[in-house]
Amino acid sequence: MTATLTKPPVDVPAEPEQPRRKRSTGSFLNWVATHAIGLALGLMFATPVVFVFLTAVMSDNQAFTADLWPREWHWENFVEVFDKAPLFQYLVNSLTYSLLATLGMLISSIPAAYALAKLKWRGRNVAFILVIGAMMLPPQVVAVPLYDTWSSLGLTGSLVPLIAPYFLFDAFSIFLLRQFMLTIPQSYVDAARVDGCSEFQALVRIIVPMAKPGIAATALFCFLFTWNDYFGPLLYTGEVKDQWTLSLALATFKGMHIVQWNSSMAVTFLTMIPAVVLFVFAQKSFVKGITFTGVKG
């Protein structure tokens, strides 16, 4: 049991191996039943998005009805929503937040994770527990003094309070990167030191190249977390419309265009695309990263 927990998670195998058994009618029926349930589950998860898409391409009038299938396909709905709200501006804001935060996270978290995973020092365990504590802390707990500080600096109403912390400290990323770095054998680090590498060189030349999959996964999670963030943008940019991110704008878009199901579903669909695209290109990193947060957590 413990061995399972220490083992670096293997890529989830495509097919769990089962001992070969005689084919009997019983096991065949079992196979059919299991796969029918599996397929039903897959469809259950997919159908809500299918309906969102089908509603998004309906005409204004039809989206109002109980029809499930569009009579005409209004592809232009996806374009017209850009006229109904400054979506392009929100997209730029979202990208600014997500990309800069991810960049800052990489600069600040990789060295910290290395120090926590591969260097021995007094207080290391305490530091790691503090990282976990920060990770578990609901963001609302520290919101009052932080808002107070940012507001006295005159920076509320901008994306700065959202982005700046990532250049110093992001608990979840430090945690995840440390877990990845633990799986790199210590002997590589020791060998680098014997060869006369400084700690910094060991990090840049040995650890970073070896931890690339882990770094990629952490960057993906950081990008998606900030892209999906609602509380942060609501708190700091809620009053300043031209600083809104897509997530924040989407929540309002529904309110403003309540009757137009097709427009609001078109925007909803558009905001989900980045996650799907990232997943398609980096499926392995996602699955690996997610497994790490739990199994080693």
């Binding site: 520290v142 912390p165 947060t293």
Partner: protein, 324 residues
């Protein structure tokens, strides 16, 4: 020869140690500064603010325990605590059981694993605002897809996000739809169960159900505990889905300017964090919000300790374990 080793570190070694210390400090410096600025300081300040009356404009005014005693007289706070407790109990159980169920089915599949795993996982990556609107549309009364589907069986869909009795179950449904991350974690744990254990159980004549109950469940129990703790934390923090469901349900035109939608319908979606946000950032009663934040901190701290204890137990077991 050996004596000199123990007696005094060679000069070169001392320098190496200093360099090592400097490296640790250099690597940790941003994190330490960030932790102090964005966690330690605000945590202390929250507790300090909680004993004051503060509106962000005038200087904080010390009011002792007023904010805390007021809590007992605030019916909305009691409502918010009840709502959050509802989620802590129902959401935690539903999410863990659901994720375990789906993962157990996927683990038994022999073809199409990749596709079905992807379909179950993808919704968890969607922005929570989008996921909430997806369900708001699918579950809408009068012609929504779910309403139409249930209509084929002669059942009327409940008024999910406008009936106080159904708003929380509606939000729970959203949370289950986006629980794919926990599913993947549990699935990986199930696939990691050593095959020999199943074979041994099979030789003893255990069928698939008994093998799952007696082999799979006990082996993955640490991961299930993680799932429970993780779900409790999620329930304590529930904010986005509650706010968006409330604003969409009430039809509020301006999600940032008005407060009438918060908790809609009939305060049934007013969770503890939503109420904290309302008091602090809508009514600018920062002192009261800080008092609520202190309470939330104490509770999440207790939950975090459970998780840290569990990790401690695992890491000591790791060090002593033969398989490590």
């Amino acid at each position: 020869m050996t004596a000199t080793l123990g007696a005094r570190p060679a000069p070169g070694r001392g320098r190496a140690r200093a360099r090592h210390r400097l490296a640790v400090l250099g690597f940790m410096a941003p994190a330490i500064i960030g932790f102090v600025l964005f966690f330690l300081y605000p945590l202390i300040a929250t507790v300090v603010f909680s004993f004051t009356k503060y509106d962000l404009i005038n200087a904080p005014e010390f009011t002792g325990l007023d904010n805390y005693t007021f809590m007992f007289k605030d019916p909305l706070l009691i409502k918010a605590i009840t709502n959050t407790l509802w989620f802590v109990v129902v959401l935690t159980i539903a999410r863990t059981v659901f994720a375990l169920g789906v993962a157990s089915v996927i683990a038994r599949l022999k073809t199409g694993v990749g596709l079905i795993r992807t379909l179950c996982y993808l919704p968890s990556l969607a922005p929570p605002v989008a996921a909430t609107l997806v369900f708001f549309m699918v579950m809408r009364p009068n012609g929504g897809p779910l309403d139409t589907f249930l209509g084929w069986f002669g059942v009327d869909a409940p008024l999910f996000f406008s009936d106080p009795a159904w708003a929380k179950p509606g939000i729970t449904a959203i949370m289950l739809w986006i629980s794919g991350d926990l599913m993947i974690i549990i699935l990986a744990a199930i696939l990691d169960v050593p095959q020999e254990q199943y074979e041994a159980a099979e030789l003893d004549g255990a069928g698939p159900v008994r093998r799952w109950w007696h082999v799979t469940l006990p082996t993955i129990s640490p991961v299930l505990l993680f799932g429970i703790v993780n779900s409790v934390i999620l329930a304590l923090q529930l904010f986005t889905q509650a706010v968006v469901a409330g604003s969409a349900g009430s039809g509020a035109a301006d999600a940032t300017g008005s407060t009438k939608y918060l908790g809609f319908p009939d305060n049934s979606t007013l969770t503890f964090p939503v109420y904290l946000y309302t008091q602090g950032f809508r009514y600018f009663d920062m002192g009261y919000a800080a008092a609520m934040a202190t309470v939330l901190f104490v509770i999440s701290f207790a939950v975090t300790i459970v998780l840290v204890q569990r990790m401690r137990k695992n890491s000591t077991a790791e060090e002593g374990g033969p398989g490590a």
